[in-house]
């Protein structure tokens, strides 16, 4: 292998496509697992439809010798269970690409519009699956053998990966899938793909053990570690994995998960738990936030802590449920009746999903406000390798909680006592002597209903003042790249990985750029408008039609003249090259002149 003249790959891009239900995602997940144990970092993305079976769907894998949290523009290897899937993704193939396709229904016809030079390998996947196992679905395990041979895995490595993946489904499932793998190896032999002789050599230099995790899982994990003990939710794509992870794990932390009958119930169950002094979270996406909106206002008015996850999807209304968007920014920052304090945090990668959820739990409880975790379908559901999280870095801050002894030393206990910070110390129900009233009506310091105008003004000021007093504790933006560069990007969520790669691609062309990664959207902190004043060519990258993030920054003093918009709302994730093209065309740059 050392003297190999094969292409050395540090950046392997694989797409597995077919009909929904063909098992494309399974193939990619196993492959991701194998490649990460060989030292590459991986990132996977799914392009699925809102139906259980059918339609053309795909799963994409990027394996990179370093961190890349986005897919690439090109595809090295395509697996097509359905020949109809090939034209949809053919534009990303090039002369070095390889396509494995199911030839059960005949050889590929010329209509697939493949670029010159693409190597085609037809394998009768479905026919052998049905012939050997009477079930079409085994074609994905058969195909894995062919992929494995192509990228130079030996048969033992593949078997280990199958043990890991299918072992937990029982002996029978494992046996059939291993048999299917063997059938695939024989077919690979027939196609001239021999053991250990991959078509390219994968270069990997990092042998650390990484976590393989999605943003949704990281939020759920962060919540559990941060002491979250109650979760209520209603299933809705793409947020459901948060609840799924917690159903499995939260009881082991001593917590409880309740699936409610709708989002109205979910947020009010969560409120019921939160008012007992339990750290509480719910997760949904735009339509669910709309249904929860009255409850969110109640959190602000009645001063109840809660973390609310919004895994944004394409809207409005039901929109495109499985597709990404970032069009709830206005809803999160401005939504609801009346004025009330709130916080919106925007992580850019799974590690930040974990850490910012811990922050969210602390801020919510200390200041008794709703805190949103603003994610999007891409960040929520795509899988990435992450360095193991340092659990010892987690700090819990519960704010002013009173126990019976502390209450007994008070002359008077008022649930809504006016304080310097705006938040009042809280005696959880069950604490002797700490009886209080909690209400969404305007109230006095004891929680008794009041429409007295002087009291009203003081109470509005109390709640609003929290937004000022919490500011030093909120996550500032992180600046990536060259701080003096004249070209700057701003973007949140799934834009993170794309922007970082775009900066690298621009640097290869001699163009310097930087990335101001905003992490607190509400309240908007001063460092972001300041950035827009000092960087003359800013591109705010976002997945919506109305530039919600850019307008939020401008509304807080951002320099409109320096801001360009890159907007996308067709449901397709951006690629770094798209950003590079936008920058070059917008600024009329000639690459050799800028260097």
């Amino acid at each position: 292998m050392n003297n190999s003249t094969k292409p050395r790959l540090e950046d392997l891009n694989v797409i597995v496509a077919g009909q929904g239900g063909d098992g494309s995602l399974t193939v990619v997940n196993i492959l991701a697992d194998v490649l990460r144990t060989s030292g590459l970092r991986v990132y996977t993305e799914r392009d699925v439809l809102s139906r259980i079976k059918g339609g053309i769907t795909a799963a994409t894998l990027r394996a990179y010798n370093g961190e890349r949290l986005c897919i690439s523009s090109h595809i090295d290897l395509m697996v097509a269970f359905d020949q109809a899937a090939i034209p949809k993704y053919a534009f990303r193939l090039n002369a070095k690409s390889i396509v494995i396709y199911d030839s059960s229904n005949g050889e590929l016809t010329a209509e697939s519009k493949l670029p010159e030079g693409v190597r085609l390998i037809g394998v009768p996947l479905s026919r052998y699956a049905v012939k050997n196992f009477r079930r079409d679905i085994y074609k994905n395990s058969i195909s894995f053998a062919v992929i494995g041979r192509l990228i130079g895995l030996d048969d033992g490595q593949m078997k280990i990966a199958f043990d890991k993946r299918f072992g937990r489904r029982g002996a029978q499932a494992l046996k059939y899938n291993l048999d299917a793998l063997n059938v695939g190896c024989t077919l690979a032999d027939d196609a001239g793909l021999t053991i250990g002789e991959g078509l390219f050599e994968i270069v990997a230099t990092d042998s650390k053990a990484h976590m393989l995790i999605t943003g949704n899982e990281a939020v759920a994990f962060g919540f559990a570690v941060a002491g979250g003990r109650f979760f209520a939710g209603y299933p809705i794509t793409p947020s459901t994995d948060v609840m799924e992870w917690l159903v499995k794990w939260l009881p082991k932390f001593g917590g409880v998960v309740k699936q409610a009958e709708d989002e109205l119930s979910a947020i009010n169950m969560a409120i019921g738990a939160a008012i007992t002094g339990t750290r509480t979270m719910t997760a949904t996406c735009g339509p669910g936030i709309a249904l929860m909106q009255e409850g969110i206002g109640q959190l602000g008015m009645a001063e109840i802590p809660m973390v609310i996850v919004d895994a944004q999807r394409s809207g409005p209304s039901t929109g495109m449920p499985t597709k990404p968007e970032q069009s709830d920014i206005n809803l999160l920052c401005y939504g609801g009746a009346g004025d009330f304090p709130r916080v919106v945090l925007a992580p850019g990668n799974p590690a930040e999903c974990f850490h910012l959820t811990v922050t969210a739990c602390n801020i919510a409880e200390k200041y008794q406000v709703p805190v949103f975790m603003c994610l999007d379908q891409g960040l929520s559901q795509n899988t990435a390798t992450v360095d193991p999280i340092d659990l010892s870095s987690v700090v819990i801050d519960r704010g002013g909680r009173l126990d019976a002894e502390q209450v007994s030393k008070l002359e008077v206990y008022k649930r809504y006592l006016h304080t310097d910070s705006g938040a009042s110390d809280f005696a959880p129900p069950g604490t002797p002597g700490g009886m209080g009233l909690v209400t969404g009506n305007e109230h006095d310091e004891f929680g008794l209903v009041s429409t007295d105008p002087i009291n009203r003004n003081k109470m509005v000021a109390k709640r609003q003042h929290k937004m000022v007093s919490m500011k030093p504790e909120l996550p500032l933006a992180i600046n990536h790249g060259v701080e003096t560069a004249d070209i700057g990007f701003i973007g949140v969520g799934m834009c993170y990985g794309v922007i970082l790669e775009a900066i690298d691609l621009l640097a290869q062309k001699g163009i310097l750029a930087q990335y101001h990664q905003v992490r607190t959207l509400w309240p908007m902190l001063d460092d972001t408008p300041a950035f827009t004043k000092r960087c003359p060519n800013i591109f705010v990258v976002e997945y919506n039609a109305t530039a919600q993030l850019a307008k939020l920054i401008i509304a807080h003093g951002g320099e409109e003249e320096n801001i360009n918009n890159i907007l996308r709302y067709d449901g397709i994730p951006m690629q770094a090259q798209d950003l590079v093209n936008s920058v070059i065309s917008k600024l009329n740059l000639k690459e050799d002149e800028v260097a």
């Binding site: 053990a209 990484h210 976590m211 899982e217 994990f221 559990a224 570690v225 941060a226 002491g227 003990r229 109650f230 209520a232 082991k252 932390f253 001593g254 917590g255 409880v256 309740k258 409610a260 009958e261 109205l264 119930s265 009010n268 169950m269 409120i271 019921g272 738990a273 008012i275 007992t276 002094g277 339990t278 509480t280 109640q298 009645a302 992450v386 193991p388 999280i389 659990l391 987690v394 819990i396 519960r398 007994s408 008070l410 002359e411 008077v412 206990y413 008022k414 649930r415 129900p429 069950g430 604490t431 002797p432 002597g433 700490g434 009886m435 209080g436 009233l437 004891f446 008794l448 209903v449």
Partner: protein, 287 residues
């Protein structure tokens, strides 16, 4: 002793049926020796939604219609509390009607008292879900929530009282609180509680109520027979009072919580167990 809020005087009209409900609840909580700090009273929106202000307790005023999800969350988070939900017929049967179905089905350890007056008093007398056909030009049939409860297999305690008959009201309030305290799950008590201003039904109800507690042979443990009897009484234009159904089923919190831990609200979460379960979860992402 630390001073906290002084329960306020009720804001209800003189003669309102809700006074009787408040009196019965306070008496029952005292008779069962439940101290104020262990009481969590959650009220809906409407005239009845101010009841928590009128007794010593931890009180919470929910959004309109959301009493049942709220008390379910509170009880799961801290089962040591005596959790009582109170509200009106608009709150519980109209805007919150969907939750009633699911609360019966879940059987959380809470007491739910609905003050039913057949009207929306606070918004000046529109028809509620329990208003009879013809009231304020109401074209719809009135809803019988007790029969609804009977039709849902998870329900375990269904009773109806009348605020004009305070002795039975107190007995049923006590029975409801005991059913829940003994681990029986949700106790549902509807109280016919006239609105003297917009729907003064005292005279009608005095003559149309019918006490199944006093009926020889009525078996509140027989769901099918209870349903049949409710239907017969409905056809006779009678309003059944008493313990209408009592069944046996585990309370939600007794099966939903991990018994190896204190209740979620009572755990010391200040220092995460980073070498134990937190690390197990972390390793699950590495494996």
């Amino acid at each position: 002793m630390t001073k906290t809020f002084t329960p306020s005087r009720p804001i209800w009209c003189a003669g309102c049926g809700d006074f009787g409900v408040l009196q019965a609840l306070v008496s029952a909580l005292e008779e069962l020796k439940i101290p104020p700090h262990e009481r969590m009273v959650v009220a809906g929106i409407g005239c009845s939604g101010s009841l928590q202000n009128n007794l010593s307790c931890y009180g919470y005023h929910t959004l309109h219609g959301r009493v049942l999800p709220t008390v379910t969350g509170s009880k799961l988070a801290n089962p040591e509390l005596t959790v009582v939900g109170v509200g009106g017929d608009g709150d519980g049967y109209a805007i919150g009607g969907g939750h009633l179905v699911h609360a019966f089905k879940r059987n959380p350890g809470v007491t739910y008292i609905v003050m039913n007056n057949g009207t929306y008093g606070l918004t000046k007398g529109q028809a509620s879900p329990t208003a009879p056909t013809g009231y304020q030009d109401n074209l719809e049939e009135d809803l019988d929530p007790v029969m609804l409860g009977l039709s849902i297999p998870g329900s375990t305690f269904l009773a109806r009282a009348y605020s004009g008959q305070p002795a039975q009201l107190l007995d049923l309030t006590l029975a409801a609180l005991k059913h829940t305290a003994e681990g029986g799950g949700m106790s549902y008590l509807e109280v016919l509680s006239p609105c003297v201003t917009y729907n003064d039904t005292y005279r009608d109800w005095r003559t149309s109520v019918y006490d199944v507690d006093a009926e020889e042979g009525y078996d509140p443990t027989n769901r099918a027979a209870a349903f049949t009897r409710m239907q017969e009484l409905r056809e006779e234009k009678r309003l059944p009072l008493g313990l209408i159904f009592k069944g046996q089923r585990h309370a939600l919190e007794s099966v939903a919580l991990n018994k190896d831990f204190p209740a979620p609200a009572l755990q010391d979460i200040g220092r995460p167990d980073i070498s134990g379960v937190c690390n197990d979860a972390l390793q699950s992402f590495i494996r």
